[in-house]
Symmetry: C2
Subunit: 191 residues, 2 copies
Amino acid sequence: MTDNGGGGRRRSEATRTAILAAARERFAADGYEKATIRAIAKDAAIDPSMVMRYYGNKEGLFAAAVSVDLKLPDLSRLPRQEIGEAMVLHFLHMWEENEVLTALLRVGVTNQAGAERMQGIFGEQLLPVARLVCPDPEQSPARAALVATQLLGLALTRYVLRLPPAVALPVEEVVAWLAPTVQRYLTAPNP
Amino acid sequence: MTDNGGGGRRRSEATRTAILAAARERFAADGYEKATIRAIAKDAAIDPSMVMRYYGNKEGLFAAAVSVDLKLPDLSRLPRQEIGEAMVLHFLHMWEENEVLTALLRVGVTNQAGAERMQGIFGEQLLPVARLVCPDPEQSPARAALVATQLLGLALTRYVLRLPPAVALPVEEVVAWLAPTVQRYLTAPNP
DNA sequence: CGCAATAGTCAACACTTGTTGGCCCACGCT
DNA sequence: AGCGTGGGCCAACAAGTGTTGACTATTGCG
């Protein structure tokens, strides 16, 4: 339909990516409703109608701007005891690498499509890891969910709400405190 | 100013509380931006202008609708080992009692005023508890923040994002898994 | 050069938002 | 009864939203 069959040869690519960058920034800072197409377009220094031309509508823009790959490393080669620490460290790096995850969380909280996308990421990226490492496969959804409560809670307080003492915590301390928690959720026997 | 010096004698009180109830529901379900005054007014079966009459503007309505008292019990009379369990149980009950906390979290994520209010609650209600129970008073902010990451993360996945496996978890299991975590964050020696 | 396709702009649309002011009606007092 | 106060509704405003279509400018190719 609105797809221009496979690739504009000219320099539209530059503005396309500029739009995506501006969109990520705005979605991360303001959430879905407050991140207006006009503001995004102004950040990208183009006309709002270009956004529509390239991405159809606001939902399409969001879908294109926020695509998440958690890049979870292969934890099966790690000693079982170090899985928790590796997870926490990896998540911290992912959150600080760019603002995509913040955007997704901010949007997911007030937008149905955003929440569903988070559920998708959980099911396709976190759950498989849990399946690999946790003892009883039948319990992996519950254990992955527990891990999600702790890791998303950290992201929420630290990167979204910016609760001062949570922001002030040095990375090493965060890891030292949370790693045993995640480790236990994944590998400990039932309490 | 818009304050009618201390009490309408007539039946305005009924509509006032109806507005607040509708507002709480809408803020909890939709967040700040999507919860429109018109929708709230329709839920309360009155005219949008009445909302303005009674609460000044949308911010005032939010302030009036969402006032949070965590009602944290006196934990100092509890055996130190049971503090974690008591906290988790209490928070679960608070979140399921009414939708105020959900509203606050949904709004806090995309609204500056909402985020500040959450910081206020943290400082005035959670921090004091941490000060009572954790060993080194200088560490209480960090430890309270850690507790916040776990408890808010639970609320986020279970009551806001509604991640299916987090919703499916029975209360007893949540407590069994999270209580040791909270207990450790509050009372364990530095890792 | 001339032509077609593409990148980009402008102005407008239909709608929703918070917010305001004027109006009517019902009640409670004297 | 009459009157005033205040609860409630209606209609409108100005601003901002996503979205659309027509128009211009620029580019590549023959």
